[in-house]
């Protein structure tokens, strides 16, 4: 009977470095149903050397790559593999001894998976890890985080129109995107089951493979196949390191948007100068004509200074609707009143102490919010000193917080999470875009949460409908919320949110389960 492996690994050897190490990592597998197919691209002598080396192990196949187009190396290895699932395993890379066994269990649940990665120091003293979050299609478009360690169904790969000659060095990224289009969500197997070839000083994650141009080309191709209207895909570099790429969506037939601003008309010092927040924000919105169909809805408290209300009612480029609110402080109720008074097809909830940095911030957020399956979109918010106030919500031990709170705006921590678009468990209502239809469908903001967690609740309600919440770093705004402000969360609010979402608040799909213990609930 012909041997058929559970896992067929494929790689390309340009020299003999790392071949023995990879072989050892495979032989150490507790589940022996693996196969490794290597195309030798280093000439006849290398082919002989590696063939001799692999002669003792029938599960290793060495193929002659001489005369083969480099773009055909991996496809040749894939075609020669007899296995249920495929993964990339370059000489020098390795798998954790329990990897194949863990893959088998996970692949019983979903047709494909990806794992965390580790990059060992060459001196044997430890390694760096890339602990990844759960899967999100927007995240995969923005960063090839589920590519190097992906395990794909061989039967599906055989049916695909792959390889695309234009994919170049991003061939495997192209393959993973195509599988994701067909198979949907994978399993994220937490733990560094995939080990990269040791180097003297591995850099911190993310570790982005492939030429930036090739990556952008395969993502653009993916967008065309999936009907996402784009103008371009461009690489993102932060601190001189590749983070992923930005999908720039085409601006066409932009829907009407109502910006809802709850306010009390207060002023405070910003950069040492007094700033009447709502007036400054509305002035900035009125001065910009970047978004064609815009309405501004200001929900103001009864004690708002009359001159502020008068200033806001001045005619401008966009219509302003002023809604007076009477009653004790309740952010949720004010937002609901504004949402109901708004006429736009989409709503943008915006705090008044905001300054817009990105000219096309609203187009970026609305384009994402219009994507099928997306329920709400959040922006990158910075404190006055330029540190991160918001890059999406994260749950830590059942408590919501802001990802990378107070980190540098160009932080590449958590695999560059703040620098690329991606799914989150929630985003702040200080700047949130969603459709008016979804807002109404889920019942708006929960008014029993007058000050805290109302955005957490809204996002969880949206997620419960099966929609995704997306964060974009390509809409940057300053939020002049005091960094030293201690958020006052009442016991009633805490009890209320936990009563509704006890389970979901303990299971943030975008936080790596191995990192939960490392997160500081106060500042994560």
């Amino acid at each position: 009977m012909t041997f058929r492996a559970l896992l067929g690994a494929v790689g390309v050897a340009h020299d003999n470095a790392g071949f023995a190490a990879t072989t050892q990592s495979l032989i150490a597998q507790t589940d022996t149903r693996w196969q490794w197919t290597v195309v030798v691209a280093g000439g006849r002598a290398l082919l002989t050397e590696l063939s001799d080396f692999a002669a003792f192990e029938p599960r290793i196949t060495v193929l002659d790559g001489s005369g083969v187009d480099p773009a055909e190396y991996l496809p040749l290895a894939v075609r020669s593999t007899r296995a249920d699932h495929l993964c990339q395993l370059q000489p020098g890379d390795g798998l954790d001894p329990g990897a194949v066994a863990a893959f088998r269990a996970a692949l019983a649940v979903r047709p494909w998976l990806y794992t965390d990665e580790a990059w060992p120091f060459a001196d044997g003293n430890g390694h760096r890890e890339w602990r990844k979050g759960g899967y999100g299609p927007e995240m995969l478009r923005s960063q090839p985080y589920a590519v190097r360690s992906a395990v794909l169904p061989a039967a599906m790969v055989a049916q695909l129109d792959w390889p695309d000659p234009a994919a170049g060095s991003a061939q495997w990224y192209d393959l993973v995107l195509r599988v994701a289009e067909r198979c949907g969500d994978p399993v994220h197997l937490a733990g560094p089951y995939y080990l990269r070839s040791p180097v003297p000083e591995p850099p911190p994650a993310p570790w982005i493979d492939g030429d930036p141009g090739d990556r952008c080309a395969v993502v653009a191709d993916h967008c065309r196949r999936t009907g996402i209207p784009i103008t371009e895909v461009r690489p993102i570099d932060t601190r001189g390191r590749p983070m992923g790429q930005r999908v720039v969506r085409r601006r066409a037939d932009e829907p009407s948007v109502s910006i809802v601003i709850p306010t009390r008309g207060v002023a405070s010092l910003v950069y040492g100068m007094p700033r009447r927040h709502v007036v400054a924000l509305v002035d900035q919105l009125q001065a910009s004509r970047r978004y064609p169909d815009l309405e501004i809805v200001v929900v103001y408290d009864a004690d708002t200074p009359p001159d502020v209300v008068q200033t806001l009612s001045r005619p401008g480029a966009h219509p302003v609707r002023l809604v007076r609110y009477s009653g004790e402080f309740n952010f949720s109720r004010k937002c609901n009143i504004g949402g109901l008074a708004a006429s736009g097809e989409y709503l943008c909830f915006l705090n008044d102490d905001i300054e817009i940095d990105t000219a096309d911030w609203l187009s970026e957020m609305v384009a994402l919010a219009r994507e099928p399956g997306v329920g709400a979109v959040g922006a990158k918010l910075l404190f006055a000193d330029g540190t991160l106030q918001h890059a999406g919500h994260r749950m830590a031990s059942g408590r919501p917080g802001h990802a990378l709170f107070r980190c540098a705006a160009d932080s590449i921590e958590l695999g560059g999470l703040a620098q690329v678009c991606g799914e989150r468990v929630g985003v702040t209502a200080a700047c949130m875009v969603l459709s008016a239809r979804i807002f109404s469908e889920v019942g708006g903001f929960w008014e029993d949460l007058p000050a805290s967690y109302n955005d957490v609740d809204l996002c969880l309600k949206i997620r419960a409908t099966g929609r995704r919440i997306v964060y974009t770093p390509h809409a940057v705004l300053h939020h002049f919320e005091s960094q030293s402000r201690i958020p006052v969360v009442t016991i009633e609010e805490t009890e209320a949110i936990q009563r509704r979402w006890a389970f979901d608040m303990l299971h943030d799909p975008y936080v790596n389960p191995l990192s939960v213990a490392d997160l500081d609930p106060a500042t994560h």
Binding site: D185, H188, G443, K461, A464, T465, G466, F503, D504
Partner: protein
């Protein structure tokens, strides 16, 4: 893994649980009219002032979330309990083997002197008895849960 949330799954399973009734008349012989009920519920909401409808929708979503959360937590507790039972069963089997082995080694001995392994056997017996008690307690809770009598089931019923 970022699939639909557990609360969503819970709501879906609740809907699915009601499905078999749709085809059958109830005890009074009146066919189940779920679709009409759903439509009238939407009609009722549509007829209300916007802000009232919004609050009601929020309450409904909130109750669904609470139910989904409780159900997901109950499922997780059940999974853990089953794992506990499996683990305890395995330990007991291992101890039984140890006990039998100790007995087998003890019996051929004819000396009247007290055997130091008697104490070991007694300790093993004690451990087996303790674990057996734990196992029975867990199994009892498991059966109660399966019969819909778990604290979570009660919580869900009274919600």
């Amino acid at each position: 893994m970022a699939g639909p949330s557990i609360a969503g799954d819970g709501a879906a399973s609740q809907t699915a649980a009601a499905a078999p009734d749709e085809a059958e008349p109830d005890s009074a012989g009146v066919p189940y009219q779920g679709a009409d009920i759903d439509r009238s519920y939407e009609d009722v909401l549509a007829a209300l002032p916007d802000h009232v409808a919004l609050r009601l929708r929020d309450r409904i979503k909130g109750l669904e979330a609470e139910a989904g959360s409780a159900r997901a937590t109950a499922d997780e507790v059940e999974r853990e309990r089953r794992a506990d039972v499996a683990r305890l069963t395995l330990i007991i089997e291992g101890l039984r083997v140890d006990l039998e082995q100790a007995r087998g080694e003890r019996e051929p001995m004819t000396t009247a002197d007290p055997d130091p392994r008697d104490a070991e056997i007694a300790a093993l017996r004690g451990q087996v008895a303790d674990l057996q008690t734990q196992l029975e307690a867990v199994a009892e809770r498991l059966s109660a849960a399966e019969a819909g009598e778990s604290p979570w089931a009660r919580l869900l019923r009274h919600r």
